[in-house]
């Protein structure tokens, strides 16, 4: 298949480039800079990098203060801590004043792997999506991460970007457009649409190939931006294909699946299945094993696709 790049690596590189281009970019980390890859920026621009120690609440508040002083702060730690430990600081200090704070969390989802359920954030998309003023982005691959980070830096206001730990296949092309709030169609199809985010987009593309052999034509719509939701692309998919399968490396509660179900339920109800972590916590294991364990493999998407297609017209 295509090249394999971890989204966190793409983030680290892009952040260092941005630091060169814009001296208002500052970066904060909570003792995880080697893992989040902000260490690349830290080496190049030590005076604009602030290690805040293992104190995420203060880190987010400090970032809000830096934003108030005209800086563009990027805040990084693992998703579970950025969203979990510092939730109310994200809400009160960053989102409520519409502060120009970029929260770029790595190690989202179950593919964190061996560290286990304590470190596997399966609720962060739902939690961030519920916060007013917040933009939520979950890139599919390395190149898209680079575009997303640049878009986040250019956007005025709070942004949550969720990245992963492991290398993931590149599914977008260099020319694939990235615009906050806009989805992209990566494969066309007529019988159903996979609406996916993050690394599940690659799984859906693989599933679509398998389905082709069965005579089922699956469209793949990748929503890097979970909020604001691209309603146009969803309506088009619902009307033209008549069935939807959502897929995310996240709980099926409140994340991408929740957002799509809410939107289509109100605007264009069609058979819909949410694929994700089934309202449970993560567990230790290898990333690949966990994707299988939690039902996030192409085979699981194939089965979900058959199910929604069978429900059409009933």
């Amino acid at each position: 298949m295509s090249t394999m790049i971890a989204t966190r690596d793409a983030y680290g590189q892009t952040l260092a480039e941005l630091g060169e281009e814009n001296k208002n970019i500052v970066v904060l980390d909570a003792d995880l800079s080697g893992s989040t890859k902000t260490s690349i920026f830290a080496k190049k621009f030590p005076e604009r990098f602030f290690n805040m120690g293992i104190a995420e609440a203060n880190m987010v508040g400090t970032a809000a203060g830096l934003a108030a002083a005209g800086k563009i702060p990027f805040v990084s730690t693992f998703a579970i801590f950025a969203v979990g430990r510092a939730w109310e600081q994200v809400r009160q200090s960053a989102a409520y004043p519409k502060a120009n704070v970029k929260i770029v969390a790595t190690h989202g989802g179950v593919t964190v792997g061996e560290d286990g359920g304590s470190h596997q954030s399966v609720e962060d998309i739902a939690i961030m999506r519920a916060v007013p003023n917040m933009t939520v982005i979950v890139p599919a691959d390395g190149p898209e991460t680079a575009k997303a980070i640049r878009a986040a830096a250019a956007y005025k206001g709070p942004v949550y970007v969720r990245l992963g730990r492991n290398k993931v296949p590149t599914v977008t092309a260099e020319e694939t457009p990235f615009e906050i709030g806009k989805g992209v169609q990566l494969a066309d199809g007529t019988d159903l649409t996979f609406v996916t985010t993050g690394l599940m987009t690659a799984q859906a593309l693989a599933a679509a190939e398998t389905l082709k052999g069965e005579g089922i034509s699956a469209r793949v719509v990748h929503l890097a931006t979970v909020k604001p939701l691209d309603g146009d692309i969803l309506l088009k998919a619902a009307r033209e294909t008549g069935a939807i399968v959502t897929a995310e490396e996240h709980s099926i509660v409140g994340g991408l699946g929740g957002a799509v179900a809410e939107f289509l339920g109100e605007n264009s109800p069609v058979p819909l299945k949410r694929v994700g972590v089934n309202d449970r916590f993560g567990t230790s294991g290898k990333a690949e094993e966990l994707l299988k364990y939690f039902g996030l493999m192409p085979a699981d998407l194939v089965e979900a696709a058959r199910g929604v297609v069978a429900r059409k017209g009933k």
Partner: protein
């Protein structure tokens, strides 16, 4: 500082106490006690110490004030109105639907308010961020952050205290309004925070302990803070909750209660104002 100037500031603080009581009486909702305990320090900041420009609230050269104890918003609002950030009549809209004067400070809505506070424990972190940002820019502007003593129970305050010491933020001055009371009663009984001075000293701060209603001491301490190099300064100000209105003083029950119709004229009398009802 000459005694005449001190007397002028004391008179200003008295007038602002009157404004606080009138504002809260009109809104019939809000925090009386903690606004009255804080106002002498707020007065010294806005009318003596801070560089700021009410005609241009975003003036880059301004000093910044963060009201971490956001429930004392009336103390901030009356000072901003008096300074000319917005018309004084606006005070009478406090906490009403559509008012730019929210129950707790909102930087999106009120000219002169720097950040959103109200959820306790978050303001000092934001003040740290401002101080770091100003230092990066080589600015001589200073950042002032006012906390309550009950607020010190929030763990984030100590994360922020640690970070300010670590980053040697000498352009930052925190003021702790130690009025000794919180909603459920005495701070010492609910969750003891003393010794406050020792705690900040242990985190690498320059510590000044004063009477928070002694205008001369407040102004002197703020001047001393500006001269302290290599570490942030905290002014631990011993105050009286409800200060200036005898029947509000030292009563936890007036933490979040506005003056009634009956109390208003008595409060005005305490503050040396004619009854205006």
């Amino acid at each position: 500082m000459d005694s005449e100037k001190i007397a002028q500031l004391q008179e200003k603080a008295r007038q602002l106490r009157v404004d606080i009581v009138k504002t809260l009486h009109k809104s019939q909702s809000g925090h009386t006690g903690g606004s009255l305990s804080a106002i002498d320090m707020v007065t010294a900041l806005y009318f003596q110490v801070m560089k700021h420009n009410p005609a241009d609230p975003a003036w880059p050269g301004r000093d910044r004030f963060v009201l971490c104890k956001g429930h004392a918003a009336p103390a901030l609002y009356v000072a901003l109105a008096e300074a000319g950030y917005f018309p004084k009549e606006d005070l009478m809209t406090l906490r009403r639907l559509g008012s730019h004067l929210q129950g707790h400070p909102d930087s999106k809505q009120t000219p002169g308010v720097e950040v959103c506070t109200g959820s306790l424990g978050q303001g000092l972190s934001m003040a740290n961020g401002m101080a770091l940002g100003l230092r990066l820019d080589g600015s001589s502007s200073r950042v002032y952050a006012m906390l309550g003593d009950g607020e010190l129970q929030e763990g984030q305050v100590w994360e922020a205290a640690m970070a300010a010491g670590h980053y040697k933020l000498d352009n930052l001055c925190a003021l702790v309004d130690v009025n000794r009371l919180q909603i459920d009663g005495e701070v010492a009984k609910v969750m003891a925070v003393e010794p406050v001075t020792d705690k900040f000293r242990a985190f690498g701060w320059n510590v000044i302990d004063i009477d928070g209603h002694d205008m001369g001491a407040i102004v002197a301490a703020l001047g001393q803070a500006a001269g302290a190099k290599g570490k942030p300064t905290v002014i631990v100000a011993r105050t009286v909750k409800g200060k200036g209105v005898s029947f509000f003083e030292n009563k936890a029950s007036y933490h979040g209660v506005a003056p009634s119709d009956e109390e208003l004229p008595k409060a005005m009398e305490c503050l040396g104002e004619q009854c205006y009802l």
